[in-house]
């Protein structure tokens, strides 16, 4: 039987007859029924529980709250018909009633807008200071490590070189190979129209060595290791592990951040060399199968197209990209506070921001290299 509620006049006051299922399961109906109660009533009130089945504590509470809102308050409020035992408990808890404070959004005025802008600027300023502080701490740890060899944390460094580097070789190789095959294939389609098939070799060589090898590797590592750095350090923050390290007199920057950043700086150039080799192999293979350029001819042409700086122009960018990815990932990890949602948000920020920084840095390098004729 569904919950219902009947208000009947009785003597000089009212009788509130509760009927049907008054358990929590029926709370939605009870809520609707209670809305029907008038807000203004004069006279005493008698609540009859005799026909309420399995009354729940939640519904009883909602009812009491509603009755407390009646204006003016009934001089007498009685419960009859075997009210549930917990009613007394609820009546005792009643006085804590207070209107819930709702958060009010600031009005959309010019002043509000300026205030928002100001808060945003202060936040950005604080953020910039935080980054600067973080870089300073890293620099100081590395500086100290020169006079204190233990500061290098070699075993930790080795672990991260393995995890970020060695285990990334298959995926980096595969992607470099495939992308280079695609570039060579599409390039050949276009160049064949001018009978300039052989220039596919130049295209592949320059594209892979100068740009794609290092850029692809950096983006893969940003997704693979940047996220891992942020998540690993973030969970340690949530578990107060970093605080524990600090309390034991260890520097989390030295223990957690520097080994990861250094490992990336070591690993990314090496992976770039592998990506370069796999890219050239892909180009060579496609030239052989699709354009019927034999391998000796491919390598000869490759040497001719190679400028003195082509290879280095790509490789020199690798440590810079590595530092960006490593610093952004670990910085975001160290920022995690309080909640699992923060962890997810900052891991996302770490990946997005490090990829953005890598591409921005790549653009700056491109301009710089053109300017100095590198």
């Amino acid at each position: 039987m569904t919950a219902s509620l009947a208000l009947e006049p009785e003597g000089s006051g009212w009788r509130l007859q509760l009927r049907g299922d008054w358990s929590l399961a029926a709370i939605a109906q009870i809520e609707a029924q209670l809305k029907g109660l008038p807000a203004t009533l004069h006279g005493s009130m008698l609540c009859d529980w005799s026909q309420a089945e399995a009354p729940g504590i939640g519904p009883a509470w909602v009812l009491l709250r509603q009755l407390a809102d009646i204006d003016p308050q009934p001089p007498v409020l009685l419960h009859t018909g075997g009210p549930p035992d917990f009613l007394q408990l609820l009546q005792k808890l009643q006085p804590v009633r207070r209107a819930p404070d709702r958060m009010h959004a600031p009005p959309r005025t010019l002043r509000g807008l300026i205030g928002k802008l100001g808060r945003w600027s202060v936040l950005q300023g604080r953020h910039a200071r935080g980054v600067l502080d973080f870089l300073g701490r890293i620099a100081s740890v590395i500086g100290q490590a020169f006079s204190r060899p233990r500061g290098w944390r070699v075993s930790s460094l080795a672990r991260h070189v393995y995890e970020t580097g060695i285990t990334a070789i298959p995926i980096v190789s595969l992607i470099a190979f495939l992308i280079s095959v695609i570039v060579a294939y599409l390039g050949a389609q276009q160049l064949a129209r001018f009978g300039a098939d052989i220039f596919v070799v130049d295209l592949v060589t320059i594209a892979v060595l100068r740009e794609m090898g290092v850029l692809l590797t950096a983006i893969i590592l940003a997704g693979r290791s940047g996220s891992a750095f942020a998540a690993e350090i973030g969970v340690m923050q949530l578990n107060e592990e970093t605080d524990a390290l600090r309390a034991m007199g260890m520097n989390p920057i030295e223990m957690l951040v520097v080994p990861r950043v250094l490992a990336l700086i070591i690993v990314l150039p090496l992976l770039t060399v592998i990506a370069d080799a796999m890219g050239l192999a892909g180009g060579g293979l496609l030239s052989l199968i699709n354009l019927h350029i034999p391998l000796p001819q491919f390598t000869t042409r490759l040497r001719e197209s190679l400028g003195p700086t082509t290879f280095w122009a790509g490789l020199i960018k690798a440590p810079v990209f590595a530092a960006l990815i490593g610093i952004v990932g670990t910085y975001r990890g160290m920022q995690v506070r309080d909640s699992a949602r923060e962890l997810g948000r900052l891991t996302t920020v770490a990946v997005v921001q490090s990829i953005f920084m890598v591409i921005l840095a790549d653009a700056l390098f491109a301009v710089l290299f053109v300017q100095i004729g590198f």
């Binding site: 358990s23 929590l24 399961a25 709370i27 939605a28 809520e31 729940g56 504590i57 939640g58 509470w61 909602v62 709250r65 035992d85 917990f86 408990l89 609820l90 808890l93 804590v96 207070r98 819930p100 404070d101 506070r337 309080d338 909640s339 699992a340 949602r341 923060e342």
Partner: protein, 259 residues
């Protein structure tokens, strides 16, 4: 010894749990009756939490049956299982409040899942549960990371009470609390137990709490459970039980209760 007239709320029979080659529970039996506070104790690594996880269906036991309200937990269809889940509340050792939600939202989470309610009613019910566990209404707007240890335990209890269960599982409810907060929590449990007619199963290492609140206690020793009243266990000759209930800490707790 057992009162057969009242069906037990929980009946665990022949429970076996193993991790690899390590046997944690072997033919473990346990019964919890209507409206009692049942304490579970045992040394570290005797599988108290594993037992709890087995009863809740969070872990498939390697053998044996678990019945809640006379129904085998494992053989239930998913709809029945959902109604069974609504019939009990659980607090975990570290609170396990959802960290990205406020305390009030944590309490409202199970309500929102099972009922469609207006915001006003949800607020009312959140306030009710906060008041039941003795938290100020202001605590509802706070995030779990802003709470003290004692408040986290209370907030977790408030969430466990949200669906008005008749059965509560508490995993180490007073661990990590100062003696005053722990005593207050004991009183809160007794109060809710008597007012709301709850059946409570409580894993605890807190001897004060055990002597203060529990009507019966199950001790996990040698992969089995020995259940008895506290007085019965005090007489038990088993060496581990004897040293547990007659150690220096136990004597102090006992003295305090029995004067």
């Amino acid at each position: 010894m057992l009162d057969r007239s009242v069906d037990p709320v929980i009946r665990v029979q022949g429970l076996c749990n193993r991790f690899g080659s390590q046997l944690v529970h072997d033919d473990l039996n346990m019964e919890v009756r209507q409206n009692e506070i049942f304490g579970v104790v045992g040394g570290s690594g005797t599988g108290k939490s594993v037992l709890l996880r087995s009863i809740l269906g969070l872990r498939d036991p390697d053998g044996g049956t678990v019945e809640l309200y006379g129904r085998d937990v494992k053989s239930l269809a998913s709809a029945d299982r959902s109604s069974l889940v609504q019939s009990y509340g659980v607090t975990f050792q570290n609170g396990a409040l959802i960290s990205s939600l406020t305390v009030a939202q944590n309490i409202q989470l199970p309500l929102l899942e099972h009922y469609s309610l207006s915001e006003n009613t949800l607020d009312e019910l959140a306030q009710l549960n906060l008041a039941l566990v003795g938290l100020e209404p202001e605590a509802g707007a706070k995030f779990p990371s802003q709470l003290s240890g004692g408040m986290i335990k209370r907030a977790a209890l408030a969430r466990a009470l949200a669906l008005e269960p008749k059965l509560l599982f508490l995993d180490e409810p007073t661990a990590g609390l100062d003696p005053i907060s722990a005593a207050a929590f004991d009183e809160l449990m007794l109060y809710l137990h008597s007012q709301l007619r709850l059946t409570i199963v409580m894993i605890t290492h807190d001897l004060d709490s055990l002597f203060r609140t529990c009507s019966r206690v199950g001790v996990i020793v040698d992969k089995h459970m020995i259940s008895d009243t506290l007085d019965g266990l005090l007489e038990n000759p088993h060496p581990w039980i004897h040293s547990y209930f007659h150690g220096p800490r136990a004597r102090a707790a006992e003295k305090e209760i029995h004067g």
